[in-house]
Symmetry: D2
Subunit: 142 residues, 4 copies
């Protein structure tokens, strides 16, 4: 996955495993969020700052395709790429990779919109040009 975005690392916790002995599939959806929030923060788009301004960015859709299993205390890297940012919507692609072996654990996608302090779907481009500039910059494909 090609991306200029920072990479997020997660250490697999005991409570994330299930009786199959591997990570429960629902946790990858949570790791996508962990990574998204971390990456946003690193590039100047703090969730907390945005929510303090009244902006929320709900998940409109999410998907995940599982390839191999993560085990307890593995370190995984979550890599993101922004796709198809329109000023109103943002799609993100994910790849979770075992840090030690490089093996791909899963790939995924999420779709997001932005809700204004008034509770309406909002154009980031129009209302928050400084955030728009960042999202546009990292969505560019060369």
């Amino acid at each position: 996955m090609e991306s200029k975005l920072p990479v997020y690392e997660h250490v697999v916790q005991y409570y994330e495993t299930d009786r199959m002995g591997v990570v429960h599939h629902s946790n990858y959806i949570r790791w996508f969020e962990e990574a998204r929030i971390y990456v946003f923060d690193r590039i100047g788009l703090s969730y907390r700052a945005m929510e303090d301004q009244g902006i929320v960015s709900p998940v409109v859709a999410v998907e995940c395709r599982y390839k191999t299993m993560s085990k307890f205390y593995d370190t995984v890297e979550v890599r993101l790429a922004f796709k198809g940012y329109t000023g109103v919507r943002l799609n993100i692609e994910y790849e979770v990779v075992d840090k030690a072996t490089g093996e791909v654990r899963c790939t995924g996608k999420s779709e997001h919109c932005f809700i204004s302090p008034e509770g309406r779907i909002m154009s980031v481009r129009r209302s928050f040009p400084e955030y728009d500039a960042i999202l546009s910059e990292y969505s560019k494909e060369d």
Copy 2:
């Protein structure tokens, strides 16, 4: 455990197990909450109604002593008893029991206070006598 309170049932979910093949210990704390909310609701103390009035009842302390292990798809009963209700504070005792065998899975306790809409510790006795009557009634030990 002697108590006039209704009993809550929970079916153990796959995602609640861990790689030891049994329920992760943190989930019992969540089942205490599930049971507490269910029981409150059944006796006329809806959490949602209370929160709509601005009252929240945070957990001040919790403890759990594990006896035996719950497994996937077991049905457990969570039994509650109110202890030492003072009008301001409420202590709850718990017993989680396997429904099929009656084996005790764990015992526990939680302590609660009540926060008023103004964000201060509140006397339920003084501010919400109708809730106080219910809590008093079920805290009585004969």
Copy 3:
């Protein structure tokens, strides 16, 4: 969603909400699993019995499209339909609906395979014809 399968009910727990005041999106993936296991059990395909025979059915892929928000202590219905069962793979479609209003909370899909006691992808049709008969019966579209 048309389906002969039983409907699963879930009561939204406090710990399933997040600071937006609604259910965290990752929990719907868990509810899909809760519903799947419940429905399988009701139609004679007990996960626990299957796992005791050494069969596991991992999630190969999952997706969810969020429409509206579930709130604390709502009761939701999770409806399933089996799609495209091949004897080797099973696709399941989901609809989560608010029980009180009928409003659709989300729709989703999951893909499953079956792993034999020897750890290999397995044809249920060939190895477990009694399970195959059930899956085939409920996958039929009239």
Copy 4:
């Protein structure tokens, strides 16, 4: 809290908050585990290595007393101290502290035993003297 043990840091995740806008109380129990596993690993007691040898260390009891609330994206430090190690049982005390302000979020305790590969309660002192040496060293109070 005085301790020679390394300190564990955790960044509060979105999915760890609840509709009160703060971290759900059950997550502190999980953070205790995260910290315990991290600290064990750093001092030469890898959970994964132990479990590969067939040793498991279940939680016998846990308790937590909540002081103040953690918020989304706060960094907390989890500090541990080993107490009352007997060769057979280990007690651990915890303090969760906001990294930025030093404010104590909660204090807690957990009790542990060790189960041998044969499934029996085990004396670490007798069976795994190298692990015993480490636990003894860090349990010493000066």
